[in-house]
């Protein structure tokens, strides 16, 4: 078989057996071959056992999704075989651990037996899967050894030995089964949450406050590990309410602060979000969604928090909400939102989903792209925190200072002292309304709506963009995909172009909240709606079929 334009590698097994790291290593392998990839990790809310699998789809062109049907699937147990046996590509192959799986339609290899001689055999299976991949794509033994050495540095010697043994066995049945084209291109594989962390850091993030919550947790882990390098301190306080209030306190003292959580944690931050609105505290919140309501399905994906996020906090005040469609957009958007939050002294939300947060994809990483978050600062003369200005933005000043700097949760006068008087209340409400107008205009000048391709219209948002793009690629479908990057202020004028054109709306929501937003806020009546709300991202093949039908 020759030059697979697109190649999907899947590894499946119990949680805790190195499934995910094998996939990450495979993506690294593809990178070394000059191939771009998209990695998706499907795992349950448990630590050991159950069934988890990771999929890496790679190609010489950009890839925007995993595929359900694998060219090469390596399964460590019965359950994995059961889950994936029906999703093998036409010329694909299922490889299984013959020590764990009775008999299957594929190739059995003694993965466990070969691992048996090492101290923690179950932790080596991932290396085995990588060796199988190496053999199947005709990787040279030395190339494999180099990769394994880099990716599995702990217990390196054992890993190398084991990899060699599996490689040898696998070569017998699989050698060169798949020939993959290579390129000379260079790029970086980056995860969605990692990109958010990097984007914010590049724009000047000083402090990251978070309480662990899937699927936002890896931002915390990344910044705890790499923050010191990048000038960011990561703080893990007692709960989400502490998180948001500490972040606001930090902003008062002049620090660019960000928080991250999922729907439930964000729900707990609602009082704090409103506090940011009233005090005009610059604050960036990352919300990574999973299926709800409530605890829901913690390790899966959904776009079900749109309504809460767009309407966060009691009272009325300006805010910015935007949602990235790709890892690259996540990097730039985190920076842009931090910048907007500081420029306009508003709370901002980067709304994303498990699907983007926890995917990894190849991109041309350009740390120098983002702007730098800088507020309008007080220069001279008497300082009044809430000075009424034409655009509603009051210059900032930070302690220590000889001026008295008062931020207040109460309705306040320009100096920040409590007011209950009719004119005082109206004046500050009007100031915030003025700022909302300024903000709307400024956002309107950004590239708020991204358009991809030409053809009949599809509208989508967030990480579902990637599913749509890949489905179009897969299906060879021509379409014009419109993706509002900003959701609040909603770029109504730009979206208005879609009115009467009956676009197909694609989203991962049970109620169709995005279609409702389009219909109600922008007056765009969908021609058809494609929804999926089972926690799984769309599969490009399935989605392509549904799109063909709908377009």
């Amino acid at each position: 078989m020759k030059d697979h334009a697109r190649f999907t590698f899947l590894v499946g097994g119990k949680a805790g057996t190195g499934v995910k790291s094998a996939a990450t290593a495979a993506a690294e392998l593809f990178r070394r071959l000059g191939r771009r990839s998209f990695q998706n990790d499907d795992y349950q809310s448990l630590i050991r056992g159950g069934h988890s699998f990771s999929t890496v789809t790679s190609a010489c062109h950009p890839v925007f999704s995993q595929y359900r049907r694998a060219d090469l699937a390596v399964c460590f147990d019965e359950r994995s075989v059961d889950a994936h046996r029906d999703h093998i590509a036409d010329k694909g192959v299922l490889v299984y651990d013959q020590d764990k799986v009775e008999d299957a339609d594929g190739i059995g290899l003694p993965l466990s037996e070969l691992a048996g001689e090492y101290p923690r055999p179950d932790l080596m299976l991932g290396v085995g899967a990588l060796a199988v991949l190496g053999a199947a794509i005709g990787l040279k033994q030395v190339e494999l050894a180099e990769l394994v050495g880099d990716e599995y540095a702990r217990g390196k010697q054992d890993n190398l030995k084991y990899a060699a043994a599996v490689y040898e066995k696998a070569t017998e049945s699989l050698k060169g089964r798949f020939e993959l084209a290579r390129t000379e291109e260079d790029f970086t594989n980056i995860g969605g949450n990692e990109a958010v962390a990097l984007g914010a850091a590049a724009a000047g993030l000083d402090l990251y406050f978070a309480y662990p919550m899937t699927p936002a947790t890896s931002i915390l882990h990344f910044l705890a590990a790499h923050g010191p390098d990048l000038g960011v301190v990561a703080v893990h306080p007692e709960n989400e309410i502490a998180v948001v209030n500490m972040a606001i306190g930090a902003a008062f003292a002049g620090a660019r602060a960000m928080v991250g959580t999922s729907g439930g944690g964000y729900a707990l931050m609602q009082e704090g979000f409103s506090l940011a609105g009233m005090t005009e505290a610059p604050l960036l919140c990352v919300v990574s969604s999973r299926p709800g309501p409530s605890t829901g399905v913690p390790t899966y994906t959904a776009q079900a928090d749109l309504n809460l996020v767009l309407n966060s906090g009691h009272g009325e005040f300006p805010r910015v909400v935007a949602s990235p469609g790709t890892v690259e957009q996540a990097f730039c958007l985190a920076a842009d939102l931090l910048t907007l939050a500081w420029r306009f002294q508003v709370p901002a939300v980067l709304l994303t989903e498990k699907h983007l947060s926890e995917c990894r994809m190849s991109l041309d990483f350009r740390p120098d792209r983002p702007a730098w978050a800088e507020p309008v600062t007080h220069a001279e003369g008497e300082f009044r925190r809430y000075r009424i200005t034409g655009d509603g933005v009051s210059p900032l000043l930070f302690p220590p200072s000889d001026e008295v700097i008062k931020w207040s949760s109460y309705e306040h006068d320009e100096a920040g002292y409590t007011t209950e008087a009719r004119p005082g209340i109206t004046a500050m409400q009007d100031k915030r309304l003025a700022k909302a107008a300024t903000l709307e205009q400024a956002v309107g000048e950004l590239d708020t709506v991204r358009v991809h391709g030409e053809g009949p219209l599809i509208v989508t948002w967030g990480s579902t963009l990637m599913s749509v793009l890949e489905a179009l690629e897969f299906g060879g479908i021509a379409a014009r995909v419109v993706q509002p990057l900003f959701l609040e202020p909603l770029p109504v004028r730009r979206l208005a172009e879609l009115r009467g054109r009956k676009p197909v709306v694609v989203e991962q929501s049970a109620t169709g909240s995005f279609a409702r937003l389009l219909r109600e806020r922008a007056g765009v009546e969908p021609g058809a709606e494609i929804r999926q709300y089972d926690g799984r991202p769309f599969d490009p093949e399935e989605l392509a079929a549904r799109l063909k039908e709908a377009l």
């Binding site: 590049a202 402090l207 500490m246 008295v404 109460y410 409590t418």
Partner: protein
Amino acid sequence: MRNLKTPAENTWCPGCGNFGILSAVRKAVARLEDEGVTASRLAISAGIGCHAKIFDYLALSGFYSIHGREMATVQGMKLANPDLSVIAFAGDGDAYGEGLVHLLFAAKRNADITVVVHDNGVYGLTTGQFTPTSPEGFKGPSTPGGNVERPFNPLALMLEAGATFVARGYPGSLDHLADLIVRAVRHRGCSFIDVLQPCVTYNDTYDRYNEHAGLMDDTPATLDEALARARQEDPLLLGVFRDEDKPTFHEKLMPDRNPVRDRLDRASRIRRMTTLYNNR
């Protein structure tokens, strides 16, 4: 020396214990300035309640926070800029009820903050309901038949949680209270002062405290001794129950760093990010 007067009209009830606390704070700030802690380096916060109005009555920079969260607010300030000395003014409903978890965690991590609790045994501003420190049997509008809960002993809780400076004050002993505040602010680590604050409208405890409160003239040597004295009811002891020197949260979390002052500039970040990814 900064004049701490503000344009805000004082709306505490005449005779309220908060006036004494305000005076004590004014005195304390003056003394701190004398000792080199300038008013410009102080940052205050407050919850919501009668106590919190002190925010508007002090010409100090700060953040008027929300009910129960001021302890988190000041921890955020301190992490952003450890050069600041931060003080949270709290109510007993605030700090021992709504936001208790933040208070205890500040103690646990020895966050370098000062918390002054205006402990009047009622929710003053919402018209006199019982609080976590109200005695059993206290009749308020949410407990017309009498509070059925045992009160917390906030000093004992804070001692258990690990606060390194724990004190009780009383505006009736004004200079003593001012002194406690000075010491609390100067203390490195989590400083906590429970201030016995009479609420003349809903819980007038002046007589009781004037009769039953007594100054300690030493600091207990051990935690057990501190706990025993904190639990003692007659006399109700005023003074410092614990004063320990231990590394603080920000010092341990980010040794020698001040995120705001030492902010890494754009070019350095880009450089470091590039290095990080090239070395991967």
